[in-house]
């Protein structure tokens, strides 16, 4: 809502010393979000005067038509070149004289152009920074000024305009009247409500009154009024002050009838619509359409109606979407001489639903959605009719109306409630006085107070709404600041601690955390070679994605990470180690929305059903490693990331959570079939690690041999030991034994290691592979694995014979389970 300060001052006596910024500050304190305070024509310096166009010579030798005009500006007549064509001889115009600076630092100078010395400039609204109007130059109302007069006050140059973002509960603030009321409260000055002033109109002409209007749905349309004017002069234009105000408020002046409806809407908050009565057949009524009909609205969009809409109809069918937009067929035009002026009260919910369904947000629908004063319509339409008669001539016929019975809503509130909520003492007298200032009526003298909210405050329904009004008027700044004593907390949960630990560990290992968007495409999943039955293939789809290319929610973290890798490479960082912790989404979303009552706690079944309707959202951790792990340097040659770095990262996540992940050969299709490890926890695969498939790298434009890993962190965290048992730290001497085993390539190293552990038994402290050898003395298809074994007894020094015995037991076990042969 844009509000010119000059207009506000007309409605409420704001002290003269108050600037636009001061006024904005008051409104902000009252809870209105003033976003900007701008000065109209800010940057216009120097002489801006009224001129009269004496003669126009059309120049036709140029690419576009140009006018050479003689303009009187008080005494002198100046020759001025102008490209606009919307003016005639005799019109009063705004002239910027040479030396004048326009917004943007553009200085007007006498200069030769189009073969003439142009001695000034005829200005448009936009050129002066007064509005968006650029269809032509500004034309002042005939007789409103003399040539040579200062044009600034006439044009509103220097007037300040507040731009206010109105929250959904403050529909009344979408009007000068509502803002003026807030300012009257803020400045503690009297307020005269233009929304309750019934302007006098000529006596109705009962003879010529059209058919009575009707409302077929008094819930959706509780009040419907139509005023009729005939013999209206369609050639008359709106007065300059009205056009200036509309422009200042960000609305484009159109025609007198449209301008008046807009002007009164801005002033009072009541949306109005003028129909061309000549195009109407029969009685005008509000009601529900059958559904399926079409209506072309004035924005030239053909809309298919739903039986849930609310429309205005005549005998032939719908002629407008109630409180949203009129129909094209009955729109007033340059020949309209009889008007039907609609002012009504439509249900906020109905209009909101309709505006949403038709994706149509208008000035009218924005106001109805936020609640329009239930009693305002007849007052507003009288103001509009009066302005139409004043500026457009015509004959007032009268008003027909239909209205549902009203029963005031009484809100009960304990007078101590504001004190209890604010945490400060607010006397009952202050409470009652504050409520009165916002327009509430407190009836009876008892406690709880019985309060009737004013008709323009449909948002006041509960005691807490009244509390806000009271505290707001006292001032939030006056509420004290005090710390509550919170209950004793539990600290971070185990899962929260573990996530932090994993993040810090991965960063310490050189990883950089990213937080990527969860939106993925089929193309990305295809590039990752994820088959349709793989849980990593997305199944959760968005109804309204940001891009049709990215309709899915991720079921693996890799696409986002790989996008980040590619982006980094594009910016010159070709060696990266990225990781991400985050949710993925699996399963299906189907069926109808569940909407338990909000008046009470949902039942256990309802709550379970709401949760079951959600897809599963496992929490994963993943990483991608590309390029060089160690650059070449004085220490030696570069070392590229390889599959083992990815696997080490994955294993370390388990390790930092106190979990030993088993590693086996994996078959994740995104990975190189020979360089993919599967991570297993208690028999369940919880992740993969290794080198990405060469085709994945190629398809996604990644550095060859990019490596990756991904783990179900949620599953790991569930298995992490809450308490870790202490080890027995043996102090007896250690016995070290090295041995080399020749093993078939079919047998994995971890199987051999496991066999050694099993065979060696409790005396084995550790086993570590320290060499892998292929070559002479080792048969084809085999390799030699060299292990270092450490034995230790808790209570004695091991004898050589004893060590030899367990060493042999280890070898025997490796031989029997893995076919290993001692080298």
């Amino acid at each position: 809502m844009r509000a010119p300060v000059s207009w506000l001052r007309e409605l409420v006596s704001i002290p003269d010393s108050e600037s636009g910024r001061d006024i904005a500050e008051r409104l902000i304190r009252a809870g209105l979000e003033v976003e900007t305070v701008e000065t109209l024509g800010e940057g216009v310096l120097g002489e801006l005067v009224v001129g009269r166009v004496e003669s126009i010579e059309e120049l036709t030798d140029f690419k576009k038509p140009i006018r050479w005009c003689q303009v009187t500006v008080g005494g002198a007549t100046r020759g001025i070149i102008c490209g606009a064509r919307n003016f005639s001889e005799g019109d009063l115009v705004a002239v910027a004289l040479p030396g004048t600076v326009l917004p943007g630092g553009f200085t007007i100078a006498t200069r030769e152009t189009y073969g003439h010395m142009s001695d000034g400039m005829l200005c448009s609204e936009r050129e002066l920074g007064l509005g968006e109007g650029h269809d032509g130059i500004i034309i002042l109302e005939p007789g409103s000024a003399l040539p040579g007069n200062d044009a600034r006050p006439i044009l509103g140059v220097g007037d300040e305009v507040l731009d206010i973002a109105v929250t959904p509960d403050r529909g009344y603030a979408l009007s000068m009247r509502g803002l003026a009321r807030e300012l009257a409260i803020a400045y503690e000055v009297p307020f005269v409500d233009v929304g309750r002033e019934l302007v006098e109109l000529p006596a109705p002409d009962a003879e010529r009154l059209p058919a009575a209007c009707a409302s077929d749905d008094l819930e959706a349309c509780a009040l419907f009024t139509l005023r009729t004017i005939i013999d209206f002069d369609p050639t008359k234009v709106s007065p300059g002050w009205m056009r200036s105000r509309l422009s200042a408020c960000g609305m484009r002046p159109v025609s007198l009838a449209v301008d008046v409806t807009n002007y009164v809407m801005l002033e009072t908050g009541q949306p109005l619509h003028a129909f061309d009565l000549g195009k109407i057949r029969g009685a005008i009524r509000a009601g529900r359409p059958a559904g399926g009909e079409t209506l072309e609205t004035i924005d030239h969009v053909v809309r298919t109606l739903s039986s849930d809409d609310l429309v205005i109809s005549d005998d032939r069918g719908p002629i407008g979407l109630a409180g949203t937009m009129g129909g094209l067929e009955t729109e007033i035009d340059s020949t309209t001489t009889s008007l039907a002026l609609e002012a009504a009260h439509f249900s906020a919910e109905v209009v909101a639903r309709m505006a949403r369904r038709h994706k149509l947000s208008s000035e009218a629908s924005r106001r109805f959605e936020r609640g329009v004063d239930r009693e305002l319509a007849p007052y507003a339409s009288a103001r509009a009719a009066s302005l139409l008669l004043q500026w457009g001539g015509g004959h007032y016929v009268g008003m027909t109306a239909v209205e549902a019975a009203m029963s005031p809503v009484i809100i009960e509130m304990r007078s101590s409630e504001p004190s209890a909520v604010a945490g400060m003492e607010i006397p009952e007298a202050t409470v009652i006085e504050s409520l009165g200032r916002v327009g509430c009526e407190v009836v009876g003298g008892q406690d709880p107070l019985r309060v009737i909210a004013p008709s323009w405050r449909a948002d006041l329904t509960d005691a807490c709404d009244l509390v806000e009004e009271v505290v707001r008027l006292i001032g939030y700044d006056n509420v004290p600041s005090r710390l509550p004593t919170a209950a004793v907390g539990h600290g971070l949960t185990a899962a929260q601690r573990m996530r932090r630990r994993v993040g810090v560990m991965l960063a310490a290992r050189g990883g950089v955390e990213v937080l990527s968007y969860p939106f993925v495409s089929d193309a990305e999943l295809d590039a990752l070679r994820i088959p349709s039955d793989d849980p990593r293939r997305s199944t959760v789809v968005l109804a309204n994605p940001m891009s049709d290319q990215l309709p899915y929610l991720r079921a693996t973290l890799l696409p986002g990470l790989l996008t980040a890798v590619r982006r980094n490479a594009g910016r010159g960082s070709t060696s990266v180690n990225l990781f991400e912790l985050g949710s993925v989404y699996r399963g299906a979303v189907e069926g109808e929305a569940l909407r338990p009552s909000v008046l009470m706690r949902p039942s256990e079944q309802e709550w379970a059903a709401l949760n079951e309707a959600l897809p599963s959202q496992p929490f994963l951790v993943a990483g991608v490693l590309a390029g060089e792990r160690e650059l070449d340097g004085w220490w030696g040659a570069a070392r590229a990331y390889d599959w083992s770095d990815a696997l080490a990262a994955a294993v370390s996540v388990g390790e930092i959570l106190g979990i030993t992940l088993e590693v086996s050969r994996g078959a994740n299709p995104s990975f190189h079939p020979g360089r993919c490890a599967e991570l297993v926890l208690a028999g369940t695969v919880v992740g993969s690690a290794g080198e990405l498939h060469p085709r994945v790298c190629e398809a996604l434009g990644l550095v060859p041999r990019t490596c990756a890993w991904e783990l179900d962190l949620g599953a790991l965290m569930t298995s992490a030991p809450p308490v870790r048992p202490a080890p027995i730290v043996g102090t007896q001497p250690v016995a070290k034994e090295d041995l080399a085993l020749i093993v078939s390539d079919e047998v994995s190293t971890s199987a051999v290691e496991q066999a050694l552990r099993q065979g060696a038994g409790e005396l084995l402290e550790s086993v570590r592979l320290f060499d892998v050898y292929r070559g002479p003395q080792v048969p084809d298809g085999h390799r030699s694995l060299a292990f270092a074994l450490r034995f230790r007894a808790p209570d004695r020094t091991l004898e050589a014979a004893e060590t030899a015995e367990v060493r042999q037991a280890a070898i025997d076990c490796a031989a029997s389970t893995c076919g290993a042969v001692l080298r």
């Binding site: 959904p168 919910e349 949403r356 209890a420 509390v467 710390l483 971070l492 050189g510």
Partner: protein
């Protein structure tokens, strides 16, 4: 060891006279002093203290002396050998020290060489900022609550007093999951975690809830469809707006420095009533830039205050929806954007830096924002 003289031989006694021994000692000491390195000192030891050294040879003659002279000669000989031995030891020690020092000098490296073979990584500054916020509230006795990102529309809107056709639903452009009628959305705010906390936790409740939220805004310098918020909720008997203000003031001081306070401006949120916009005092200028063109402040735009979030007293309708007795319990709630906080707190100028995953951005923060 020298072999003892077996017979008395008066003819060779000359070698044992005092001046001869002194000369031998002088020779030895001079040679020791001349020895330049450990190899030289080894030779000197052999020549002047070894089995074939003049002194050793002379010593063999003691046995041939008359018994009366033996004692004196022995004493003189002992003193001479002692002097040479200690001179050798002293010189050896010096030479060893020199050798060690030379070795250390030779092993010196250029310690200014780069050592960033495996540089540290970094956590995302939004993650660490959320953790910092959580820690502030953990210290105040709060727990950290969580909820799903794909959320029930009922939890995200209905239970928060946003009925289906309420204009507040269009204030937030919602991603619908499955179909617009599925009743499942990407949560548009962290407020649904309030509902979950109230349904699932015993009273009283003191929680903060950080998390990722989604709205259909195009990515640009100040908007992103995926961003983060943190939500706070306290539900207890006798909770007041004063408690809310005190909590926010404490929070602001922890985040931005001692003495930094907050300001509330009336506003509207469906799930709170009264509702307020939350501003934090500018921690850079502390208001000194207001109306002072000579010391303008870029952090607050010389406003003295920075818009931070929203807050209010939990609307009793929300308490009804989760079955909390609103006659007995009241609550306050607040929320703010993490991206926005990082932008003004750490001077991030472009939203895209926080979403693109450029390693240069996160690495500047390390593991603490």
């Amino acid at each position: 060891m020298s072999a003892p003289n077996s017979a008395f031989d008066p003819k060779q006694v000359a070698a044992l006279d005092a001046s001869a021994i002194d000369a031998m000692v002088a020779d030895a000491l001079a040679a020791i002093a001349m020895a330049g390195d450990l190899a030289a000192i080894k030779e000197v030891r052999l020549a002047h203290a070894g089995d074939r050294s003049p002194l050793a040879l002379a010593n063999r003659e003691i046995g041939a002396l008359p018994p009366a002279a033996k004692a004196e000669a022995g004493k003189r000989m002992g003193e001479a050998r002692g002097a040479i031995k200690s001179a050798l030891e002293a010189r050896t020690e010096i030479l060893e020290l020199e050798r060690d020092e030379r070795a250390l000098v030779e092993e010196a490296v250029d310690v200014t060489l780069p050592v960033d073979r495996a540089p540290l990584g970094a956590r995302h500054p939004l993650t660490t900022l959320m953790e910092r916020i959580c820690d502030v509230f953990i210290a105040m006795g709060y727990d950290i609550a969580e909820g799903p990102e794909v959320e029930s529309e009922w939890v995200n809107f209905d239970a928060l007093n946003v009925p289906p056709d309420h204009p507040a639903r269009t204030m937030q452009d919602t991603f619908y999951v499955g179909s617009p009628e599925s009743g499942v959305v990407l949560r548009t705010q962290t407020s649904p975690i309030q509902i979950r906390a109230m349904l699932e936790r015993p009273l009283p409740i003191y929680v903060v809830a950080p998390g990722r939220v989604f709205r259909t805004d195009e990515l640009d310098a100040t908007h992103t469809p995926v961003f983060h918020q943190v939500e706070g909720l306290a539900v207890d008997e006798n909770i007041t707006m004063a408690d809310l203000k005190g909590t926010l003031d404490h929070f602001a001081a922890e985040m931005f420095g001692a003495g930094i306070v907050t300001r509330l401006r009336p506003s509207y949120f469906p799930f709170t009533e009264p509702s307020a916009e939350l501003d934090v005092q500018c921690f850079v200028c502390r208001g000194a830039s207001i109306g002072n063109p000579d010391s303008s402040c870029r952090t607050c735009g010389s406003e003295g205050w920075i818009e931070w979030g929203g807050c209010g007293m939990v609307n009793p309708r929300v308490l009804d929806a989760v079955g909390i007795d609103s006659a007995k319990y009241r609550g306050f709630a607040f929320g703010m954007g993490i991206e926005r906080t990082l932008m003004f707190r750490n001077g991030v100028t472009d939203m895209r830096d926080m979403v693109e995953g450029d390693i240069r951005f996160s690495q500047a923060f390390g593991v603490e924002s």
